[in-house]
């Protein structure tokens, strides 16, 4: 495969949370502004010649028919080329992948990848929970978001002896990391006992096993490696990416102890980047629920299948662990504004590789970071992006 090398020259996000006071458009403008400000040598916004927008659920803020024109208008770039990507929970990471391919193709020079999501303009009842009544009238009936992942926890516990304490340890770690991230939705510690005492949402997942509903936006500016030094002396490069799919219904899954789409996507990304799991300094992975992070670190090859629970409990994924996972606080603490999530994760990778992550900075030895999302019906879509600071 031959493609032009792509660089990240700017990245930023807004403070995540229930942003009742901000419109979708204001969140988009805030994220774009943060990305522009982050460009070391400055970048005139008129230099942006294409925008890729990730928004997964326009339905949650009353914009069912949203296209690609809302964001350019909101950020003062009306007229610019713009495409909207909707690809489930990996919408943001897939928008990044597509943006990288656009730059690599040489068709556009400076591409803004921006994810924006309003999760709380509708009540939980009418928004996320309402999906219990959507989809196939029998095979999806009652399927709220936790139902997509809880069956994997049940089976993982059954086959590998994974315990509620192991699940809880993921929440404890990510909430701890969130305390160190000024952009995180939650900035408070939780204990294993608190997780285990929280209300049962969808067995075996309790409230603190679940990510919150978070409004947010994040933006990244991409250009070719050739032009990167016009904007910064510390560019980060796109080393590889992969996307993969699986069947959309739970009853079509070949396994309930892993998400094959993640394995496929990461395999493609590792091959493209010419690296393996052991070359990574850190990873931002999809932890919509605690069990998801345990599945992820197995499916991404960080630990052996079935060992994700003990590895989490024993701190292998902590900031100072063998492979730090979700230093930003992850979806569990930083939040999961769906379209923005992947781009916010990539922003964290960018900060970490540039060693600008402050108190949550992990040791950068080999110069590679991985970002991952998985989701959609039956967790049937996964995207993995790998960034590097190595020229």
């Amino acid at each position: 495969m031959s493609w032009n090398k792509v660089a990240v020259v700017g990245a930023g996000l807004i403070k995540m949370g229930e942003l009742f006071e901000q419109s979708y458009e204001q969140m988009a403008a805030g994220a774009f502004s943060a990305a522009l400000v982050s460009v070391d040598k400055g970048l005139d916004k008129s230099a942006v010649d294409a925008v890729i927008v990730a928004t997964q659920r326009g339905t949650l803020w009353g914009q069912e028919g949203i296209g690609g024109n809302t964001v350019p208008s909101a950020i003062g770039l009306s007229g610019v080329a713009c495409t909207r990507v909707e690809n489930a929970c990996p919408s943001g990471s897939d928008a990044f992948r597509i943006g990288a391919m656009v730059v690599a193709s040489g068709v556009h020079d400076v591409v803004l990848v921006i994810g924006v999501e309003k999760m709380r303009d509708k009540s939980t009842q009418e928004g996320l929970l309402a999906r219990a009544a959507a989809g196939h009238p029998l095979y999806n009936r009652g399927e709220t978001a936790p139902v997509l992942f809880a069956p994997f926890a049940t089976r993982h516990m059954h086959e590998f002896g994974t315990t509620p304490e192991m699940l809880a340890s993921v929440a404890v770690k990510n909430h701890h990391n969130g305390c160190l991230d000024p952009y995180a939705h939650f900035q408070s510690e939780v204990t294993v006992e608190q997780v285990l005492a929280s209300p049962m949402v969808c067995s075996p997942l309790r409230l603190l096993d679940c990510c919150p509903q978070t409004d947010g936006a994040a933006a990244i500016i991409l250009t070719s490696a050739q032009r990167a030094h016009e904007f910064t002396d510390k560019p980060v490069y796109v080393a590889g990416f992969g996307v993969a799919t699986d069947h959309p219904y739970l009853h079509e899954k070949s396994t309930f102890v892993g998400l094959p789409a993640t394995t496929l996507a990461s395999g493609r990304a590792y091959e493209m980047a010419g690296v393996g799991p052991h070359d990574l300094d850190m990873a931002e992975v999809h932890d919509c629920f605690t069990i998801t992070e345990i599945l992820d670190i197995e499916d991404l090859g960080f630990v052996e299948k079935g060992k994700g629970g003990p590895a989490s409990l024993e701190g292998e994924t902590a900031l100072d662990g063998r492979i730090p996972v979700n230093p930003s606080g992850g979806l569990l603490a930083k939040g999961h504004p769906i379209g923005a999530t992947g781009i916010a994760q990539l922003t964290e990778c960018w900060w970490q590789l540039r060693e600008e992550a402050g108190q949550r900075q992990v040791a950068i030895r080999q110069g590679f970071a991985l970002q991952h999302n998985v989701g959609g019906r039956g967790s049937g879509v996964s995207v993995v992006n790998i960034l590097t600071r190595n020229a």
């Binding site: 009238p137 029998l138 095979y139 009936r141 009652g142 809880a150 089976r155 009853h251």
Partner: protein, 516 residues
């Protein structure tokens, strides 16, 4: 008027079913401050209705009769309150039972007499030679008016009978090649136009103007006694017992006393209350089981009573009596006490289950409207529980309409097959957090079916507390939703408790059928 001679038909098997819930009359009294009522009545859970009860009883009767759905030439369904006042009620039931699309028969409704009308319709078709095997299903889940005395008497239940034609030459053999255990040998009907219970267009609950003294003395005792005596005159010997539909636990015994033979059906009212159109056949099944005294445990399938049994059903100003001559125990005859004791619920839960207590906030609508194209495409495969089997690798993809290619190998040569209705739990969750109309706890179960297909369906709240990976479950028809007045039916998973078969469910038979 002289009635033409009646051609007997064979009784090949019977089945019965009861809903899940029981409501004590005393709880109704407490709610209304009227202090009243004894005993309990059967109430459908939110996912049960007259159709799901009919499905259960029909499966049990087919299993008992040893008749496959493909052998059934007609379905006659009697219910005072079909799931659609107008709509595809009969087609839905026939599809869920796996009957052929050419199946004859019809739906009788409009009063509790509908059960007897269905029986007579089937009988006529068999006698005329237009049908060889007839499935008669009677079911009801009536909705009483709030605050009326009917709340303490109105119940629910279902009974089914498989009938076979008898060759003209002799009393046998029947269609199944041996002499039948029992035959329907005589029948009579009387009319007496009087309004007792009624429901107008658009009416939710059944209105009840039953004035005990008026109707007992002037209408029902005379009408039923006259009908019963007329039937007795056709009997070659004295009747062994009567089965009489009962509105209040008193009328049937009064009539039986006048007719001079024991009342075998008393336990039906005692266990279920007034089961409407199903009452007469439920009583007949009870009589054939030989447990009319109400004693429990004496009648496993295979034992049972013999002799002449009279059954009387009525309603809508008409009464019909039929005579059954049982020379051997009737296959499938069970006492109502074997249908399960049900789960006792309080008055608010019973009202909620019956749809009479609703939240003020609007329930979340189904993603696809039940009247829309997706249901036109999907109803046969949802009601019949079909999958698509790959001719190359054997993998079953479910449901067929969303799987033009195989989930296993991508092959595109698929054949539609009925799925097995038994399997083991691969994994599950219990959802505790959902908006109305959902009720927690709601198990959602991924099942590895006996035929190798995998399915995710809702489970039973009763299994929520201790469901486990590896548990054996069977699939049973339930109502998934009632939206814009349209019921949506599908299969749900129920754990098989221990080794005991579930009487009245017919799920074993269904599993065999689906597994072929």
């Amino acid at each position: 008027m002289t009635a033409p001679p009646v051609k007997p038909v064979a009784v090949l098997g019977v089945g019965a079913a009861a809903p899940s819930l029981r409501l004590a009359a005393s709880d109704v009294g407490t709610a209304w401050g009227s202090g009243g009522g004894r005993g309990t009545v059967a109430v459908c859970d939110a996912d049960e209705d007259t159709l799901t009860l009919a499905w259960q009883a029909a499966n049990a009767a087919l299993e008992a009769a040893g008749v496959t759905p493909a052998e059934v030439s007609g379905l006659w369904w009697g219910t005072a309150r079909p799931p659609f006042a107008e709509g595809p009620s009969h087609a839905f039931l026939a599809t869920t039972l796996g009957l052929d699309r050419t199946v004859a028969g019809g739906l009788s409704s409009g009063s509790p007499h509908a059960g007897m009308e269905a029986l007579l319709g089937a009988w006529d078709a068999l006698a005329a030679g237009h049908a060889r095997v007839a499935l008669v299903v009677t079911s009801d889940a009536l909705v009483p008016g709030l605050g009326t005395t009917a709340e303490t008497t109105t119940g629910a239940g279902a009974a089914a009978v498989v009938l076979g034609a008898i060759a003209d030459s002799a009393e046998g053999p029947s269609t199944n090649g041996s002499s039948p255990a029992a035959r329907l040998v005589a029948r009579t009907t009387r009319a007496m136009p009087a309004v007792d219970r009624y429901r107008a267009d658009g009416g939710g609950a059944t209105g009840d103007v039953y004035d005990a003294r008026l109707f007992r003395e002037e209408v029902f005792v005379p009408l039923l006694t006259e009908t019963g005596r007329a039937l007795s005159q056709d009997a070659a010997s004295p009747l062994a017992a009567w089965a009489i539909a009962d509105p209040d636990g008193k009328l049937a015994s009064a009539v039986a006393k006048r007719l001079g033979a024991p009342l075998a059906s008393a336990p039906v009212y005692g266990a279920l209350g007034d089961a409407g159109a199903a009452s007469a056949l439920l009583g007949l099944v009870q009589a054939c089981a030989g447990t009319g005294s109400g004693a429990t445990g004496s009648s496993a399938t295979g034992s049972g009573a013999t002799g002449l049994f009279g059954a009387i059903g009525y309603g809508g100003g008409r009464a019909t009596a039929v005579l059954v001559d049982a020379t051997r125990p009737v296959p499938g005859a069970v006492g109502v006490e074997q249908l399960g004791a049900g789960r006792r619920v309080g008055y608010p839960e019973a009202l909620r289950a019956r749809g009479q207590l609703e939240p003020m906030e609007d329930p979340i609508p189904m993603g696809l409207p039940p009247g829309g194209a997706a249901f036109v495409r999907g109803n046969p495969e949802m009601l019949g529980l079909f999958g698509a089997r790959c001719r190359s690798c054997g993998t079953i993809s479910t449901p067929p309409s969303i799987h033009p290619t195989c989930i296993g190998c991508g092959g595109d040569e698929l054949e539609v097959v009925a799925l097995a209705r038994r399997g083991r739990v691969q994994t599950f969750v219990v959802n505790q957090t959902m908006p109305p109309p959902f009720q927690a706890p709601l198990p959602l179960v991924v099942i590895d079916l006996d035929d190798g297909a995998r399915l995710m369906v809702q489970g039973s709240p009763a299994d929520a507390a201790d469901l486990a990976v590896g548990d054996t479950v069977t699939l049973s028809l339930r109502r998934y939703a009632l939206e814009r007045g349209i019921p949506v039916y599908g299969f749900k998973a129920f754990r098989v408790a221990g080794a005991g078969a579930t009487v009245g469910s017919g799920q074993d038979r269904a599993a065999q059928e689906g597994g072929r």
